[in-house]
Every structure is written in C-alpha cells, then in structure tokens.
Assembly symmetry: C2
Homo-oligomer: 395 residues x 2
C-alpha cells in the first residue's frame, strides 16, 4: 500500500504533551506535565442539576441539530461575561461557540494562513497553537519576550521588515507556557503597532479569569478600535474541559469566515453541552465557582514557588505568575531539559520540555510546570524530586 | 480595515442548506429541506437515565480532559457495532471518535488533499462533504451514477486518465442526496478498481443501519483487503445528533494521521457526550431503538412516494430509496429548481435545490426531499403544494 497524503501532513506530528501524558499516567509519577484543571473542584452537584434540568425541560432540543453559531442564550451569557471580565463590548452576533478554544486556534490558522505566510508569536508560545497553525504550513517568527510580555520594539522591527505577516498570536494573560502577563504599557504599544499595520491578532485568553494577585489588565480586544482582534475564550479552565465548549469573538467580516469554517469542520457545537453549561449559569453563580478555583490554584502556586525557592540550586530561575496554571523554569544553558525529562520520569516526576514551545527550535534548557491539579504534599515532593535530578547535573 | 484572508477562504461560502433552513423555520412552512432525525423518536428517557448515571458514577471523569482517540469503552462498542452491522473486522486501535462524521469529512480532505489534487465523487454527492473538501482547494471530478450506484466503467476511465487522483468519496448506502444504494456487483467492481490503483476511499455511512426493505449490502470497508477504505460512522441518525459523536475507522497508517489532525483541530471529542452515549448503550438496546426509527421512517417514505405518485405530473421522476432519509426528484430539463424553490417557499413548502450537490455545477432541474421528520399529514400536504407549483410550470 502506498497511499499519498497531503503535503501539510509532513510537518504534523502528535503532541509531545499528549505522548508524555501517556507515559506519566502511572500513579507513582507526580506529573506537572499536563494543564489539567483540578477535578476535585469541578462543580459536580451543579452540573448534575443542570444536566437533569436540561433533560427534563428541553430534551428534544438538546438532542437535535442546532445552529452553527451556537445556542443564543449561551452566547448572550458569553457576551455579558466578556463585558464584565474582559471589558469587551460585543453582541451575540459577534460570537461563535467552538469545540474548546483549540478549535478557535485551528480555525484561525485556516482563515488567515496560506503556505509560507508569516505568523508572529511570543517566544515561547503555546504548543497547541503552534501545532494547529503548522497544518497551514506557515513560517513562524518568534518575537522575544521579557517579564513584561512581548518586546514591542522587536515586534515592530519584524513587521516592518516582512510583508507576508498575516497574523499575530498572543496570550497576554498568564501565558502558556511562561506564566507571564503583559503590562498595560505593552498592551497599548501593541495596539498602536497593529493599528498602524492593520494585522489581525489572535488573543488567546483561556486563563484570564484566574488572577490570584496584582491588578487586572484590559484585554487587547477591549482596546481594539479597528476590529482587528480575534478573542478566544473557553469554559475549560473556569468550569470544566470535558464539555469542549469555547468561543470566538470577532468583528463581523472576520467572524463570518470562522462560521463558514465551523460549518464545514463539524456543522455546529454540541447542543447538549451548550444547554448544560447555559443551564448551570442560570442556576448557579459561575463567579462564585471561579473564586473557589482561584483560591486553591493561588495557594498551590505559592506552595510550588516556595518549594522551588528552597530546593532549586542557584542558577535555575522560574517565573512568578500572577494567575493561570503554569510556571516556567530556565536551567543553566549547558543543561538539556528534554534529556533530563527521561531521568525525571525514572524518578517519578514529569514536566514538559520547553523546547517544544519554540517553533523554530532551541531553548532546550527550559521546561514548563503545572501547579493546578496537585495537592500540596505532591507539589512539595515533586519539586524536591525535580531539584534532586537538576542538582545532579549542575556544574 | 483591510485584513487579508487565506486563499482557501475564497471558495468557501455558507451552506445553502443552513441558509435555507433559516428561511423555513416559520411554522407555516412544511420543510423537506433539512436532514433532521425525527425528534419525537429520540430516546429521551434512556438518555436522561444515562446522563444521570454518568453524573453519579463518574462525574469527574466526564468533566475532565481525556484522550484524543476517544473513550475506550465507547470505541469497543463501536467496534462491536461495525462488526454486527457492517461486517467490519477492526480493533479499538482502528477507531477515532470525532465530532460527528462531518469532522471525519473535514479531516479526510486535510489528510489527503493538496491544492489541485483530484477528488472523485458520485454525481450528485453530499453537499457537506463537497464544502469540507473545498477548504483544501482540490479539483472535483464527478463520476456518473445510475440506479445501481456509481458507474464503474466511468470511474476506471477517469482514474486511468488522471494521475493526481488522491481520494474517492462515496456513500454506497441510501446516498445523500439521491437515496440510492450500490448493488453488490458494483461494490465488488469498485474494490477491484481501487485495489488496482491503490487509491484511498472515504466510505461515508451515516444512514446504513436505516434499511426499510431489500437485502443488506456489505460495506466497502468489510471488503477492503489493502487498508484503503476509511469508514465514517455516526450516532447522529441512529441515536441523536446533538451529542456530535461520530467515528473514523481506518488502517493504522492512515488513522494515525487523523489522530494528529484531531489533536490540532480540537484536542479530543467531548468526554461528557462520549460517556453518556456509552452508558445508554450499556443500559438499553440501541438495536431496539433503531428498529423503532426504521419503522417510522419506512412508513413516511411510503407516504411520500405514494403521494408523489398520485400528485406529480408525468415527466417528473423520483428515486425509491430502500432506506435513509432522502428521495431525489428530477424535473423536466427546462425547469430550474433553484428558481422554483422561492415560489415553493412562498407557498409554504421547502426543499434543497439539487444543483448544490454537483460541485461542478449544472443539473438545476433536480432537488432533494427529506421524509424523516414530518408526520403523514404534513408529508401529504407538502407534496401536494410541491406538485401544484411544479404543475404550473409544466410545458
């Protein structure tokens, strides 16, 4: 058999994270590799009641086909939520419900990117986005970042020098993988630049509501006067990922392309999932639930950073996220976190090697650590195991 | 604002069916335009119990992320079902759960088709597949069909003359839109041809279990000795579409590409939907449920065909499907079903103009009619309204 696949499949391989997750599912492994929400915090009783109510009140609506754009009541709630949490003024017509925000990433690539078009992103950036865009065979240019976010002088230099920049992908709040948040000044400067060059921006915001401390920052979309920003939101981290419900908010000219893409990709989001989440938000306060999550995750971040401070040798640095799920560790340059990962798994602790978050390679002395889905004692023990392996390799 | 989209977006427009459905949602319109299952047949009580059981027994599994390939217990049931209903020998590792079989179509295009590659399909073929493939900018070659399915001499001629044929898309059972089913002889001849040329085949089978009369035919996949056939199945028509659960069954070399595509497209199928359908199949007999559907749909087909026989003028023909949801009407060549559709909607009856099912255009004297989601009196009244409009235009 000699089946010929499309060329785009050459660059696509399985996600390293998913493969790692398989390796780390033995109960003895303390895994900081995933990006899972803490299951013990899921609002089980609330979703039970919501599911029951949907199946009693409107089972035949829930089980039938529905519109591509998504259930209107849910989109209304999304619009209200974006207003309250992200300062975004939108209407129901600006919102498309998607299968998680990963689908928004996939559609973004397909809507904007031809082969060899340039996509700009933070260095490092989210692996799932890089993989989604790769299916369109673009060129990636990484824009350097520091503790305050993307470095705007570098961004403008790259845009000015390249006329095939079709799209910029960013995660300004509690970035995956770095845990960093852009300052207000960087956001303003960013909007000045994209308004000048009129380049569409994908603002990925799955963690924005999970701020533990510091001041809330306005979303890029809330500062968007030209309809250039495509905002991606998700219920995965604030409610539960198993429903696969996220959304895209964009100007009509752009959103209509995403809607066409949704039609041909899978017709519509799950009616059942949409109705159940919608009902939950009618019966309960999602805000109250998010407060609970934030308290627990904020505490776990503290435990992790304190343990790192106590255990990691000098020369190893890590970020201090004000929210979200991840911190980012930088080892001395002579170390290779991909090689170390194997030794760590042998010592029953796991992370994601950082090299995967750089589409153009390099930076193999970095790794991403998740703190959201682990009790204190495991965090402490896991960081100790990490530190022990790292120390063995310090020069 | 002058945002530049990807070239692939040029060819993609909203589905005509979805736009039509919007027009026909007024209660006074009798719509034969959709392809909706009958909601009064949904196993509401069973799915209520299943949802409740899932949320009591394993809520935190249901609400969490899961594997890309899908829940193992559900895939086991899919494997059993394909064995029993389609004669397919497969293992769990050959199955990927998708967001409806529409996602299987989208992935098929993306896995196999580069720009200007040739995809072969029946003339006419399913609009949703044509739209999904269009996102990869292929060339379509339509293979003529007759009452026995695709005409194999024509197929072989086209394959022999074109070296960029990358994929063949077919619906051998109760085709959408024609309602036709391939004979055993055609299936055997088809497999001989594709084995000779080693071309991958997408066998779309959403309606296969809905046979009202005549003899069951083996699936192409069951006759596939070289791992060339990709089989697409779905729970949408045999259970309910609102869960968005379908599947792909293919040889490992091919399936691994679909799994990578699933990862980057939306990470995984909905865990909640999968667990609920899986639980339903544990608690109840899906076979019994399908028997009920078949009885009702078979009766509705009879009512529709009898009314067409009584009401349609000579010179108008229609197919006699042995199963599925659709029949296909051919008007005299001087009529235009797209123009007539507007007059029909003014007279409160709707169908889908047939021209949309031919990727290369033409055949505007045809239309598709659905009989699954309408009670007898509406079917009779609707066909009478259709007949009245048609008669007005007969020469």
């Amino acid at each position: 058999m000699s089946v010929r696949f499309a060329r785009r499949m050459d660059g696509i391989k399985g996600s390293e994270i998913r493969e790692l997750l398989k390796l780390t599912q033995q109960p003895e492994v303390i895994s900081f590799a995933g990006g899972l929400p803490a299951p013990e915090l899921f609002p089980v009783e609330g979703m039970q009641k919501a599911a029951q109510a949907v199946m009693e009140e409107s089972p035949r609506v829930a089980m039938q086909y529905s519109t591509t754009e998504g259930f209107v009541s849910l989109r209304e709630k999304i619009v209200e939520r974006m207003k309250a949490k992200n300062g975004i003024s939108a209407t129901v017509d600006d919102v498309l419900v998607t299968s998680g925000s990963q689908q928004g990433l996939d559609f973004s690539g397909r809507v904007f990117l031809d082969e060899d078009d340039i996509v700009l992103l933070e260095s490092p950036s989210y692996l799932g986005a890089i993989n989604a865009f790769k299916a369109c065979s673009p060129k990636f240019i990484e824009i350097p970042t520091d503790g305050n976010g993307m470095i705007m002088e570098e961004l403008e230099k790259v845009i000015a020098a390249n006329d095939r920049v079709k799209m910029i992908y960013v995660i300004p709040d509690f970035q995956n993988p770095s845990g960093r948040t852009w300052t207000l000044e960087r956001r303003q400067k960013f909007m000045d630049i994209i308004n000048k060059y009129e380049i569409p921006v994908i603002e990925d915001n799955p963690y924005g509501e999970l701020r533990f401390d510091g001041e809330s920052m306005p979303s890029l979309k809330s500062m968007d006067t030209k309809g250039l920003v495509v905002f991606l939101g998700s219920f995965s981290k604030i409610l539960a990922p198993g429903y696969r419900i996220g959304w895209v908010c964009a100007a009509p000219e752009i959103l209509s392309k995403y809607v066409c893409m949704k039609q041909s990709a899978d017709l519509q989001p799950s009616t059942v999932s949409q109705l159940e989440i919608n009902k939950f938000m009618e019966l309960y306060s999602l805000d109250e639930h998010v407060e609970k999550i934030k308290k627990v995750y904020g505490h776990r971040r503290d435990v992790m950073l304190e343990t790192m401070k106590a255990e990691f040798p000098e020369g190893v640095t890590y970020t201090h996220p004000q929210g979200g799920l991840f911190t980012w560790v930088v080892l001395p340059e002579y170390m290779n976190a991909r090689e170390l990962a194997i030794e760590c798994i042998e010592n029953n602790v796991a992370y994601v090697p950082g090299g995967s978050f750089f589409p153009n390679g390099g930076h193999e002395n970095t790794f991403r650590v998740n703190y959201s889905c682990m009790p204190d004692d495991k965090i402490i023990e896991g960081v100790k195991r990490l530190a022990a392996v790292i120390k063995k390799h310090m020069k």
